[in-house]
Symmetry: C2
Subunit: 405 residues, 2 copies
């Protein structure tokens, strides 16, 4: 459909009546010259409040019933937003995930979208209505409501934009776009006008909270242009799109940090084939995600295996590893929670050698000790002491000259 | 289905987590020996809060969107109640009105149930699950959620009991049953063990707040035995059922009062055919319900026409009547808000003459002036001054000997 936009608003944008009215204003302005599908999250803290209510009833609430409960948050948003738009003289209709034709799999509370049949959405668009869709939810093969887990509303928006072949999917947030670094840490951090899917994916993976990796992956797969921008200002934000030829001129696009990981080491692990599979297989079985993995091969016959896990998983990971280490005949397990991961991301790294070396040199000059290093084609991450986080981000931002285009 | 009960719980029974848990206890006890379908309302003040939220967005919220919003209240109740039941080791499943197969008509915010196809409910009952259905909602011919208006959850319960051919439909409330008079007014008011549909209908029509007339009508039509009882105690409440042969021995079953009506009179209305049709047709067109109507034929050529309307409608009624009176060449319109309607109801009246006369005599002895009288086969209602309400109810309760069986 030509001139069709998907606009996605997060929970903070619809937290109260005044905010809902100002979002409605925003939408109707767009709708004067375009067709519009809106995706919206639950208002403010509604989802957290509902989870708390469920926990007060049952320590581990039934997942199907939890989805029935959580889905009501987005239903309230779409109904209220649709009322606000209609009272401004525009025609609008709210649709739940199931009504919008969003089909999900059977995994309650973190379902995946299987397919989208936007029959009803297209019908209503053809009647010149603004269509308001509940984010974060779909219908599963049992005809039950299923929720899509963290970042689910972004995913709904991107998947709808793909299914409807939209011109762009606009993600409205409380920040103005994607920055070269966290503006709370680096005062002269610069808003990026454009960034590639791959760079955004790496940034999402290392603590930039703007969008979750799963939505960016879908956008990349279906070549949906994303526009991350502010709910509260009219200015252009950051366009996330496929790699353009001139993008490689920029060596480093952004710097991110993540304080939510902990470093774990198993010492003196016997150097036999299959050892790594045993260690990380055990963790995977319990749904513990491991991020950076480093195996030092300094000595003969015994290695130290180090990796990072989310702090939330640390306690469980250590319990599991103690029994694994015993079975393998490995040594003690040590861990460190006071670490941070600092990453630099940029497509240009592929054609500009020496970026990693520059990063390490900068850290050395500042007396910042590097605990672990991991690199991908377009990203270099270092684990350092948590206390050095701000200093590291600021100096990298300066030395890589990110405040200038 | 044999040994199947419908249990309906109102909003105050599920207002918080502790209440939800105690309702779950109640349900699982019943489910040990029976199959159970539960119908539940939105928790506590949720519906009112949502309406207020909608009003803060739009002065007259779109009815379809209001239904989308309101339906979330019951969805929260069914999800939380189902979690509570499952955490006690019983199997349960929550179903929205649409999932339960409740088909409604197109009138948003006060839809009527058109039919019930309880396919999914029966499937789940056969899997030995306790089925929790959202009251007050259904799916309409546009595949939209529609709500059933006031008393909608009772209606859902009664209609499901009829469709499933249940042994009984239990209505759990914060009172112990149906009383001979309001226990807050008459201290020795007696809980009735049994009452006929017709008597209950008359009581519902004259201010007894236990159940709305529409649900009782459906129960009567499909011969569903109702059991009105307390959420908080195990004792038997009041059975509402078809007329039994011995019921006529009781002359008066109950006394009710209603302070929500106002008396209106149009004076000096020309005595021509079609006049009443014009007056009451005008009110009906604007959805103003008229209750008692009295036309005095004392004088020649001109009559006074008096009737009662709900206080909420009084202002509108008077506006409409002023222009009607002008066109008809009638005299002034007078009204009185400080009135109450006192009614005595009983099947036995049909075979015991003199009940009305006794009621009037009792009022006369007490110096209570009667403004209007209206009678049906099993009910006598009088409009009196509002200040005499308590005195009137108490003395009738005593003189008709209602505190003794």
């Amino acid at each position: 459909m030509s001139n069709l936009f998907v606009m996605k608003f997060g929970g903070s944008s619809v937290a109260d009546s005044d905010k809902i009215k100002s979002v409605a204003e925003r939408i109707t302005k767009k709708a004067e010259k375009n067709r519009v599908v809106v995706v919206v999250s639950a208002p403010g803290d509604t989802t957290d409040d509902l989870i708390e209510k469920a926990r007060s009833i049952s320590r581990s609430p039934d997942p199907r019933e939890l989805d029935m409960l959580l889905a009501t948050g987005e239903m309230q948003s779409i109904a209220l937003l649709s009322m606000a738009i209609k009272s401004k003289g525009f025609d609008a209709i709210s649709l739940t995930g199931p009504q919008a034709g969003i089909y999900a799999d059977n995994v309650h509370t973190k379902a995946k979208i299987k397919k989208i049949r936007p029959v009803k959405i297209i019908q209503e668009l053809k009647k010149d209505k603004i269509v308001i869709v509940a984010g974060f939810q779909g219908i599963n093969p049992n005809d039950d409501i299923a929720t899509l887990g963290r970042g689910g509303s972004d995913l709904t928006a991107v998947a709808l934009a793909a299914a409807l072949k939209c011109r762009a999917c606009e993600i409205y947030t409380d920040v103005k776009g994607v920055y070269t670094a966290d503006p709370r840490v680096v005062r002269n951090a610069r808003k990026l006008n454009k960034i590639s899917y791959d760079e955004m994916l790496e940034l999402a993976g290392v603590g930039s909270q703007v969008m979750m990796a799963r939505s960016i992956e879908v956008a990349k797969k279906f070549n949906v242009t994303l526009h991350v921008r502010s709910t509260f200002s009219g200015e252009t934000g950051t366009i996330i799109t496929k790699e353009a030829s001139n993008m490689e001129d920029v060596v480093v696009s952004g710097i991110a940090y993540d304080k939510n990981e902990a470093k774990v080491s198993i010492c003196d692990v016997p150097d036999r084939p299959g050892i790594a599979a045993k260690i990380f297989g055990t963790l995977a079985k319990k749904n513990i995600n491991v991020d950076m993995i480093i195996q030092s091969a300094a000595r003969e016959r015994y290695n130290d295996v180090s990796f990072t896990v989310s702090k939330n998983d640390l306690k469980n990971a250590i319990l599991l590893l103690k029994s694994v280490a015993k079975r393998l005949g490995a040594g003690p397990i040590i861990f460190d929670k006071d670490v941070a991961k600092i990453s630099i991301v940029g497509i240009g790294m592929r054609s500009h050698p020496g970026i990693a070396a520059k990063m390490f040199r900068v850290f050395a000059e500042q007396g910042i000790n590097i605990h672990m290093i991991s690199t991908s084609e377009i990203k270099i991450s270092c684990i350092i002491s948590r206390k050095d986080t701000k200093k590291a981000v600021r100096i990298l931002h300066k030395k890589f000259n990110l405040s200038h285009t």
